[in-house]
């Protein structure tokens, strides 16, 4: 399969990223690229260093070594040199968290307005114009609410706009977190296990949502995921990590056939005997009558199979 991204300029280039915690090397000499209008998935067994990569990208960790270059509006930014909170603002990377981190006591709409803090803060002239409710600030606030409404509609949360975020069901909380990330107007959206805890129907909806974001918004998506129906169904590009090293990189089809990936997920001994067997297991999800099984799902790969092994 040919990769159309080869010809394009990457949005994010990671080169020789290494992250050590004392004696533990969580990420070891990792290089990859992510492109605009593409969904790049990072997979790997538990503890492979996926979330660490995200934390390095979004400024929560300072990498021990390596170069993280982000290409925003023709300007090359070095992420490892930016202070954590500036990454969302300057490099325009937004992220979600593995365990949902909402502002649980605030309403859904407030969550989305907080995400637009920086432009609103500027419009309120650091609260001076805001205190006197000047028209400039009022217009900016209306625009912020309109943007929030746009994303609420896209993610099917419009009915719940004035709910307290913590009172939403789990699936809706996950969607709200994605909406909040999108409200920062990112060019790269990093999703840390967005399908975790979702039922198959919600997971299929998530697929459609991510495909729509890629198609319509023109932003890149970087995805950590255990749910293989999501990974294999929608990603353009899969990177497999094991013990902090990259063991495979390619299209879903290439990665699925890669013997080192099977070994990493199943262990050395079983890999030979089990072979494809485990990858067939998820078929039972379809047998239970899940009509929403994503059409793009390659044969033999479904939800969670390799991970639960």
């Amino acid at each position: 399969m040919t990769n159309p991204s080869e010809s394009k300029e990457p949005l994010l280039t990671v080169e020789h990223l290494t992250m050590r915690f004392g004696g533990l090397t969580a990420v070891d000499n990792l290089s990859f690229a992510a492109y605009r209008d593409e969904i790049t998935a990072v997979i790997g067994p538990n503890g492979a260093g996926k979330t660490t990569v995200f934390n390095c990208l979004t400024g929560f960790y300072r990498p021990s070594a390596g170069r993280l270059a982000m290409n925003v509006d023709g300007e090359a930014l070095r992420l490892e040199r930016l202070r954590g909170f500036k990454i969302a603002r300057r490099a325009r990377i937004a992220r979600t968290f593995q365990n949902v981190r909402l502002f649980a006591g605030m309403t859904v709409l407030e969550n989305l307005v907080v995400a637009q803090h920086n432009p609103l803060m500027a419009a309120s002239a650091f609260s001076i114009a805001g205190l006197f409710d000047l028209p400039r600030f009022r217009a900016a606030e209306r625009a912020a609410i309109d943007r929030a409404r746009y994303w609420l509609e896209k993610l099917g949360l419009l009915e719940n706009a004035d709910w307290v975020a913590g009172a939403l069901p789990y699936g809706a909380q996950r969607r709200l977190e994605i909406a909040r990330a999108l409200c920062t107007e990112p060019v790269l959206l990093c999703l840390d296990e967005p399908a975790a805890g979702l039922n198959p129907r919600e997971s299929a909806e998530l697929n459609n949502l991510l495909l729509a974001i890629r198609a319509e918004e023109g932003i890149g998506v970087l995805l950590i995921e255990h749910d293989m129906s999501v990974v294999m169904g929608i990603s353009d590009h899969v990177i497999v990590l094991d013990y902090g090293r990259k063991i495979a990189d390619g299209t879903p089809g290439e990665v699925r056939a890669d013997p080192s990936v099977i070994k990493a997920y199943l262990g050395e001994d079983e890999a030979a005997s089990a072979d494809e067997a485990v990858f067939v297991a998820p078929a039972e999800a379809g047998a239970q009558g899940q009509p929403q099984q994503p059409t793009a799902l390659p044969p033999g790969l479904g939800s969670d199979g390799p991970v639960s092994a």
Binding site: G59, G105, V114, H117, G130, L152, D162
Partner: protein, 443 residues
């Protein structure tokens, strides 16, 4: 019908009460109480003359006390046994009351302000009542100021009294050394206190929860001890006296003014009364407190205020959204401290004398208790809690030495029945729908 008969069946088939463990539990409580009471209540020293002490025993008191504990404990354990099945499914009446109060915030606030403004002119008002009202309003203002830091930004501050002290001493020093009047010194008190807020903010940026509380507690003590020991500047334990009283647009409140100064009663052709100044002070602090409230209510709806609340909810998520936690925290500390400083400036002019004794930890604890009892982040709750906490010890004077006991019991009672504070209702800052379709509040 079916439901009713089902309930009746439940009533009849109620399992027998587990008397043995209940009695055992009550007995244990009584024994512990007796052991504790034996040295505390059972033995009393008295002077037998010649500087020697004798011991009187009151074992009957201990026995009565233990019996009371036994009965009380038994009653406490029995109560839920009789209440099961009878509880309604709806929220408790008090929750409904506070939710209603939250929805009717505007009329209630206006009525409260009208009442506060009319207080000095009501037939039953007295100088004592107005003085008490002034004290309550100082604490309301301090509570509202601390509410910015604790209630909105979620930064537990046990040293808030430091800013109160800084504001008071700023005015005290400016008045003593540079002849500033109250109105001239007021903005400086706010500014200096805000600077101290930022000063405190820097070292505690990375701290949260308990650790933050300890550092702020230390900060409060440092300020007090510096004031106490830097005698050449602050007068040490002797404090600063002769702080000028505020004037009414240049009109002094005095029986006879020095040459060239008009007094308030001369200007308005009134009979001189010392009450004029007391009433004026009351209105000054009422105005200052209301400005604090207006400012806080407005800033809650601004990006800065929302960022404070977001920071309280989840700092990590804030950083991922590009919010600079340093600026947000420092602004909360600075604005909270500013209100503390302004209140301190008023305190100095009202007392006319300040010393480090007025700025002890117990003040910080009282202000924090007002915020927590009132319901974190709730402006109306602060008013209720301030009235309760400041006036309860006053009205309890009849009980002499027991008043602090009653005060403590009232605090425990509030925390048992209203663990999230008197008013736990949070009004959203922005709505998509109309308010009628109001927010679903988390259970």
């Amino acid at each position: 019908m079916a439901a009713a008969s089902g309930l009746a069946v439940d009533e009849r088939t109620r399992p027998p009460l587990p008397w043995a463990p209940l009695l055992k539990d009550a007995l244990l409580a009584a024994v512990i109480a007796a052991l504790l009471a034996l040295p505390l209540v059972g033995l009393q020293t008295y002077d037998i003359g010649g500087g020697a002490l004798g011991i009187a025993t009151h074992f009957d008191w201990v026995a009565w006390g233990a019996a009371a504990v036994f009965a009380g404990r038994l009653a406490l354990r029995l109560l839920p046994q009789f209440r099961t099945g009878r509880r309604g499914t709806g929220p408790a009446p008090i929750s409904r009351l506070t939710a209603w109060a939250g929805r009717q915030a505007v009329p209630i606030t206006l009525a409260g302000i009208a009442l506060a403004a009319a207080l000095p002119f009501l037939p039953f008002s007295s100088r004592y009542l107005i003085d008490l009202g002034t004290t309550v309003l100082i604490y309301v203002m301090l509570g509202w100021g601390l509410n910015v830091v604790v209630g909105l930004a979620g930064l537990l501050d046990l040293g808030y009294v430091a800013f109160y002290a800084v504001g008071a001493y700023t005015f005290g020093l400016l008045a003593r050394d540079l002849d500033f009047s109250f109105w001239e010194a007021l903005p400086f008190s706010g500014l200096v206190a805000a600077s101290f807020g930022i000063l405190l903010g820097f070292p505690v940026l990375r701290l949260r929860g308990d650790y933050l509380a300890i550092v702020t507690l230390g900060f409060g003590e440092i300020i007090r001890i510096v004031l106490l020991n830097w005698a050449s500047l602050t007068g040490g334990p002797n404090g600063i006296g002769g702080i000028p009283r505020p004037s009414f647009f240049g009109l002094a409140f005095a029986r006879s003014a020095p040459e060239g100064v008009t007094t308030f009663h001369q200007f308005f052709g009134l009979e001189f009364s010392p009450d004029h100044r007391v009433i004026f002070l009351y209105f000054v602090i009422l105005g200052m407190a209301l400005i604090t409230n207006l400012f806080t209510l407005r800033i809650r709806k601004l990006p800065l205020g929302r960022a404070w609340e977001a920071l309280r909810e989840d700092e990590t998520a804030c950083r991922a959204l590009g919010i600079n936690p340093t600026n947000v925290k420092l602004s909360a500390f600075a604005i909270g401290a500013m209100f503390g400083g302004l209140a301190g400036c008023f305190f100095a002019t009202r007392q006319g004398f300040i010393s480090p004794e007025s700025f002890t930890f117990i003040e910080s604890a009282t202000i924090l208790a007002i915020v927590v009892l009132g319901g974190m982040g709730s402006q109306m709750g602060v008013v209720l809690a301030a009235i309760l906490l400041v006036s309860l010890p006053e009205f309890g004077r009849a009980f002499a030495e027991f008043r602090m006991l009653i005060f403590g019991a009232a605090m425990v009672a509030v925390m048992v029945w209203r663990p999230r504070g008197l008013i736990a209702h949070r009004e959203p800052t922005v709505w998509l729908g109309t308010r009628r379709r109001a927010a679903r509040i988390a259970p």
